[in-house]
Symmetry: C2
Subunit: 348 residues, 2 copies
Amino acid sequence: MEISQLGEFGLIDRLTTDLSSVQPTTLKSVGDDCAVLGYDGTTRQLVTTDLLMEGIHFDLVYTPLRQLGYKAVMVNLSDVYAMNGTPRQVTISLAVDNRLQVEDLDEFYAGMRLACEQHQVDIVGGDTTSSLTGLCISITCIGDAPEPAIVKRSGAKPTDLICCSGNLGAAYLGLQLLEREKAIYLQQVKEGRVSDNAPFQPDFSGREYLLQRILQPEARRDIVQTLRAAGIVPTAMMDISDGLSSELLHICKQSGVGCRLYEERIPLDYQTAAAAEELNLNVSTCALNGGEDYELLFTVPLSMHDQVEQLEDVSIIGHITDADEGAVMVGRGGTEMSLRAQGWNPLN
Amino acid sequence: MEISQLGEFGLIDRLTTDLSSVQPTTLKSVGDDCAVLGYDGTTRQLVTTDLLMEGIHFDLVYTPLRQLGYKAVMVNLSDVYAMNGTPRQVTISLAVDNRLQVEDLDEFYAGMRLACEQHQVDIVGGDTTSSLTGLCISITCIGDAPEPAIVKRSGAKPTDLICCSGNLGAAYLGLQLLEREKAIYLQQVKEGRVSDNAPFQPDFSGREYLLQRILQPEARRDIVQTLRAAGIVPTAMMDISDGLSSELLHICKQSGVGCRLYEERIPLDYQTAAAAEELNLNVSTCALNGGEDYELLFTVPLSMHDQVEQLEDVSIIGHITDADEGAVMVGRGGTEMSLRAQGWNPLN
């Protein structure tokens, strides 16, 4: 059977079927942003890992290595924040091919170090090897949280409010702009109008925010801290890496609930809307399915409505329902439609 | 600068220069088999990670996926045992290209699960994605040990005995046999004498042990348990993945000592010796520089000579000296030579 027939989550389901834990220190295994470990003491350890492959997750034509290093760390930290934890350590494994020079790796490491410094995370180990074909980055992050603070995907309850930090779709639009300019650049190289070692430096003025969202995303520690300061513990939380609809369906499935999402409440930046217009894309579709925003999606009890409404950079975008009401999006015109996961699938 | 000019350890030194830790939970960072973390309680967490790339670390022409899965886990467990710890959890990340079918991944996972079951280790997370070119496996293992039990590379003292488990060079000879048969097979395919989808099934009878050593190595938990039962705590320990000479030099450097290694004491299996003879290779060179044996190299105080001598499957191969005596190998004829790291370098 072809792997693409199963898709990422189908494959993970198949490979992790009957996966039982024998270690008493394993408190939560596969299926959330992080595994939860409980060594002695009351602190819990959170573990997450991400594998980034050249040509699949990033394109070195338009991705500066410093920003790639920064992002590679950030996507892991994001998973720890999504459990309401604090990242503490990372291990960094790299496989590099001979196109890269030592100075390129210096740049990559500078970006990783900057990300780690900003979040007070230590680089404690890793592996460095060669690759026959392309750069491969594997990062594991270990964080911690006191047991009662940990927020899983499985705690959402009917009537809970669905909240989202920041805005969505910007990273996807940034990627589309980069891909468009890359195609133009390659065409120019092909036609001999620019040399193939000419730098790829298109004019992105006015679109800097979108580029930053795709190339150098920020893990939302600030939101976790804001919630903590406000005394709000989400009932469920995860980060938005594959797209809002896909992530919301994860929460619904793991919490055994349904949801009503209001299209008009999905937070958008004006640059996102403008770029979608220019590229003739439906901006809601970009926000729902684009992915890579690394915003936090979380649910809070309805009783916290007033507190949540006052939080800066947090939007209430819908509410949780009983499972039998399904996962529904209410469109701008009031039409209801089923929410479907059309997020980014790395195995297609 | 080309990365190969620096080599793996030169590159790691460059990238990790000035790497300081800010987290109080980071007790030991880069530079040993595992990082050592100290969350609350008295147990320490050990973290290690390995990245295995197709074409660099393994060749699917002669590596069954089930054995590859087994080995990929085992090499990580070996690093935890090398700190005198107990592995508890692994995360497993895979990037697969479209040559592999779902059934192939089932095989790979079966091997990983077997390794985990045998060592009571839980698979707690990971990442699954696609690759444009070849299989990529990244595994992180988390283990634990009480603080006083942890054995680092840095504790060897002059007069300590240098010990080694099992025997060396077998994995390297196994690899040479596989490579020789692969070359014959490819030549036959090229000449049209066998079809290119004919299975690669050369006759390795009498050499099964060597093949097992390269394809399905065992992490030496038994040695760690034996030492524990005998009340012997090594002063320094690491696993032999890159080759005896390279690893012994790591211990000397990190402990600030020298060593005298006796060539005639290096443990060899008769199959290793026979295959070296057949392939016209110097068997000592294979044992010193071959790598991938995943035996344990450790030092114990001279006062424990009698206890260590009685241990099954452990050889005393030399002793630690003052740093100014250098790292010396005493050859079979009594000639002395400098020990040099000529172990496997994944960046050459």
